[in-house]
Symmetry: D2
Subunit: 341 residues, 4 copies
Amino acid sequence: MKIPSFESDYNNGAHPEVLRRLVETNPAQSASYGYDEWSESARTKMRQACECPEADIYMLAGGTQANATVIDALLRPYQAVVAAETAHINVHESGAVEAGGHKVIALPSHEGRMAADDLRRYLQRFFADPTWEHMAVPGMVYVTMPTELGTIYNKEELERIHDVCQEYEMPLYVDGARLAYGLMAEGCDFDLPWLAHHCEAFYIGGTKCGALCGEAVVFPKGAPKGFFTHVKAHGALLAKSRVAGVQFDALFTDGLYFRIGRHAIGMAMRLRDIFAKHGLELKPSPTNQQFVVLENEQMQQLMQHVLFETWEPIDDRHTLCRFVTSWATTENELNRLEEAL
Amino acid sequence: MKIPSFESDYNNGAHPEVLRRLVETNPAQSASYGYDEWSESARTKMRQACECPEADIYMLAGGTQANATVIDALLRPYQAVVAAETAHINVHESGAVEAGGHKVIALPSHEGRMAADDLRRYLQRFFADPTWEHMAVPGMVYVTMPTELGTIYNKEELERIHDVCQEYEMPLYVDGARLAYGLMAEGCDFDLPWLAHHCEAFYIGGTKCGALCGEAVVFPKGAPKGFFTHVKAHGALLAKSRVAGVQFDALFTDGLYFRIGRHAIGMAMRLRDIFAKHGLELKPSPTNQQFVVLENEQMQQLMQHVLFETWEPIDDRHTLCRFVTSWATTENELNRLEEAL
Amino acid sequence: MKIPSFESDYNNGAHPEVLRRLVETNPAQSASYGYDEWSESARTKMRQACECPEADIYMLAGGTQANATVIDALLRPYQAVVAAETAHINVHESGAVEAGGHKVIALPSHEGRMAADDLRRYLQRFFADPTWEHMAVPGMVYVTMPTELGTIYNKEELERIHDVCQEYEMPLYVDGARLAYGLMAEGCDFDLPWLAHHCEAFYIGGTKCGALCGEAVVFPKGAPKGFFTHVKAHGALLAKSRVAGVQFDALFTDGLYFRIGRHAIGMAMRLRDIFAKHGLELKPSPTNQQFVVLENEQMQQLMQHVLFETWEPIDDRHTLCRFVTSWATTENELNRLEEAL
Amino acid sequence: MKIPSFESDYNNGAHPEVLRRLVETNPAQSASYGYDEWSESARTKMRQACECPEADIYMLAGGTQANATVIDALLRPYQAVVAAETAHINVHESGAVEAGGHKVIALPSHEGRMAADDLRRYLQRFFADPTWEHMAVPGMVYVTMPTELGTIYNKEELERIHDVCQEYEMPLYVDGARLAYGLMAEGCDFDLPWLAHHCEAFYIGGTKCGALCGEAVVFPKGAPKGFFTHVKAHGALLAKSRVAGVQFDALFTDGLYFRIGRHAIGMAMRLRDIFAKHGLELKPSPTNQQFVVLENEQMQQLMQHVLFETWEPIDDRHTLCRFVTSWATTENELNRLEEAL
């Protein structure tokens, strides 16, 4: 019997419903490069889910790719993207944004979030500096929802960031690698249509939310000119686009994407209860990533029974550890974690 | 009843055996980023198939991505890649190689092939030119096997190209998007191990040879330092690497990859027979892409019954058309093409 | 007594008048980065010479730099620049345009010139190709005036190229590294104001036309947004901008730039007469670069007495040689060449 | 009578001795692209001054250009450069390093300096992080000497940084835009030969140290392969290389470069005395940039009589101001500053 794993939300296969559709559609022939029927259907369903009939949607294979491609499309060569210090693009993308020629300007991270006030203050100072034209010019803002640390933005926070962006005529781009888990988190006071109306681009994460691969980039007000070719120039165009199309079509049929989110959130909250019951310190997170402080010996023992990730040392005797749930997490796994504790 | 399609080798789903393995492995949990068990197994099998126990192998999502990533890893910033004029990287990759900073130097195409003599002559003249240091310096050679026009290299041709590369200390890189069809073509006098010993890098195409997505980049003598991070910086690292790992594992189990190649070649040769019987002019091609000259009216009529691509106008009254077979092509489809003719 | 040199138009120092101004202004203190008084004065004089009061003008240190910077500013990342095969950017800039991420699409060269008909045909075919979105998309046109082979465009040729550009909504950029010699050539039927009204950007070459360094990039209808920062991001911003400002101010005082052009053209025409008198074959060129066919033995002997460049072998016994005049070429040097012949 | 200016060290023309040599050599003809006699002579003199007979030296037009070109030559595409937060490449180069594809990793600044301990700790943690291969990999270290804040490194500090670099097999690159002022500063306990033996590359700043333009990049153990072409691909190759060659030849004749440094330092120390006498707070700086805290009203009044730069607000009533000396600063200017105070 396999060890329960809370290592990540990308160590499972596809959600059974997604897989079923891949199997079902496999015999059919189709056009490629996004022109297949399932991609078309998926785009229609996502436009409906976003209440954005005019949205342009492109499905790419991965998240780093989506970020690098979108950011390079929204900036001029001398412009930079502003992000929280802990942002995925600033830490865990091997410099893919810089490889495209753009600096990442890091603002302070508040439990993973950027603060609108920090952003405004930064931009005010930047453009007040008489030497600003000698610096990489902030040209867009990047936030993750939910953040790399499991936290979420609420409506007001995101709206205020968007207001600053509007004021400075900069697009706001939301990395939704785990969007399903963010939107379904307790305390999330907005939905997909609201999000679509408060940013210039975002992506609906597939890989971490039930698909085998695929992220759907949404431009609610239309994509930059030539984006199809831009995607290909970034090596991000899928030849057999059906692989992404079918999966997103399944994810946006009968609310599967949101059901996946709800399930994982439910499991994550049970996880919190279990840790709390054992008197363990938890970082605030309403989403599917839970960060808990373990005493090192306890951590070593727990590792014998359950898989999870060490995040960072806290002091000589304690370590912050990450436990992640997904569509695939079961009650049984939680029970076994509890036993192990 | 659906219209037979000879449009491309990427308008079908996955080969049933590949799909079966995706389904079978779906419930299992695994590591990511290439560390899953199926990726490991696939690499082992491909190393065996190449008789290259030391080879480094990385599975990426697509072909343009594989080319751009490998080429950028093998060159210094001021260097260029030499390719035939008709090469995929020179025509149909939206400038992805240039987006990585490198010029593509185009040599004459001989039915899609680069000639070793052209290459040597070019390099001799290049380095004899007193101004060569003011030009983008050729740093590697790119060939496709089979070529974009369906032709193949034989042992001698490829060996001579490799000899020139060795002489000028430049790596040779072989784009094998359709490698299965090339290796199984009549007249192909070499196999995977021979290929692996006559180039510095190549990729085993998955997308066009039975997979849903995925290309396996092989460095027979080891990858450049830091290639893992380089792949990620190009946005080409698959988080759920299992999606590629499982597929290549299936393709390299019981010789499936080669069976797929053989089947498509058999169908392609039958295609040639059918066209020849009707007195139609065919371009030389021993692989799964067949190019036939159709009179325009005949082409229009045929399009009612069979799907295929127009390649390029030949004169006012004739058009070169492309018919492609794959693992999915059936006798029935061929019969219906014949009826339609 | 030094050997007469016809090697290049950049093997002399500055025109004495330019040097005089550098000396004269040296003691004064000034602002930097283009805000010094001489840069301002030079811009005003160049705007007047172009009859373009609205023009934005930036002075950069060199030609390759100017080309790479301007092209990268006018294109989106997935776009390419169209140029004649012999274009400087396609041959002698070490891939600087590609280093900025852009493909150079090479059209046939007609004695160095691009033909409007070739351009239109290329663009028609490009956008008629159903796969065009998979290719690097032509986004601007680059021509040199005069060309690398010494020839010039006339009004009609350039106007027709510009018309095609307008039709396809692409900027036309003119590389004027030797503009002084082109505008003063016999047969040139346009002037600076006409040029400024028939392209979106061009540069007035300084280095080859009497300055020590410096090229003045002119955007007759205004520069792209953020161009100052873009220039700096390309490493092309001069801190002591006075070095370029003073020189261009001198070049555009009392018509010095045009006098330099006229002098070199006069010397070049005398050169042609001398070669013609000796029955030597000359390539057509009304500018300061003259290409003459020499018998190899004769070439070797001449090299004892006069410096010049071999351009390319014509056959086993003949070589095309280049003789270049500049503001510095003297009657005496011509006389000595004649003696040597 | 002109207002004394302490605005910058690049608002003067060339040192009279440099100018004299430019005038003197102007009539001579020469080869280009670094092959002229003065560039050769300058390289020889700089090699001697560095006691590095094997050094490769290239003279480029500007500092941002030199940094972007060298850094791109020393890194692989996925690698990053480590620098202090206040480093010129991290702040005032408009993202030129990122435009070349590389991330700048910012370490804490200690009055402008990087600390060897910070560097070691950062690298230890970086490579201890199990996810490091998903991050931009530090591949070289960049320091400025003197720093952007006027401070200098001593032998021990630089040696320890170099030791860390050696340990991690990363080149150390020293930006010497103001090297003359750094080497001549009181407290600088090393010289050019020592520096050349404790880094893999550095540049000897010309623009800010008496030249009109030009920075001499030195590779004490030899330049990376193909560096000439790399320079050209970065648009950084001077056609009339004499402009830099002559100037550096002059700067390294009879110790002019060091005399310039000494003079500016002398003037800067007098500046400190004047400010100290008036009870004004000075930041520690032994070089030609002096940072003094002025009360805002006093600052406004002083600006009527003397030119200088405001650096950053300290509080509502005080501003940090920068006063810079150079070879051109005179006793008379200092006297007038004192009067104004």
